[in-house]
Symmetry: C2
């Protein structure tokens, strides 16, 4: 039996669906690469495209997946669109994962 967190309350089916949507958005190595990069500061689509090495349309799609679940915000400045992490929680989740893999020993 493991202690739950302070903020946790009785969960409804929609809670699991919403949570699953966020995990779905994070369930792709290229999107994780993007999130990790944005953890260091905002980037435009072209920068991220160079980083992940896929077609710009594909990267744009990945960005929209992350934006739709509220992980990112976009801001147009001139012809460029800059993306930023919406909040630090995602990076915390990364930390939990680091711990998890350390615990697993892989």
């Amino acid at each position: 039996m493991i202690a739950a967190c302070k903020t946790s309350k009785r969960k409804k089916p929609t809670d699991f669906r919403k949570a699953a949507d966020v995990f779905k958005a994070l369930a792709n190595p290229n999107r994780l690469l993007i999130v990790d990069a944005l953890g260091k500061g905002e980037k435009c689509v072209a920068d991220l495209t160079e980083l992940v090495g896929l077609d710009i349309s594909t990267v744009s799609n990945h960005l929209s997946v992350l934006r739709k679940v509220g992980l990112l915000v976009d801001e147009r400045r001139g012809t460029q669109v800059f993306y930023t992490l919406k909040n630090a929680c995602v990076l915390k989740i990364f930390c939990c994962l680091d711990e998890f893999h350390a615990h697993l020993g892989r």
Copy 2:
């Protein structure tokens, strides 16, 4: 710019792939329901099948997805197989998500 966690180090492509696999395992409402239930203690497949309301073979598949990424461990006792959370990190991730949704206001 957001502070990274203490344990974070330079990430390799395989790190993102492994992390994505864990998120993939969590990217399904029924599997989240299972993880949440197991947070309260071990359960056998039949118990979990009743909980999620899908075919037992489907639940068995979900459990194997979660086991493969190291989130669960199984233990056979007689004819039954009991599943347990491998560690508390997953529940911490849930907490991060709760925070995230609170921050988003949905």
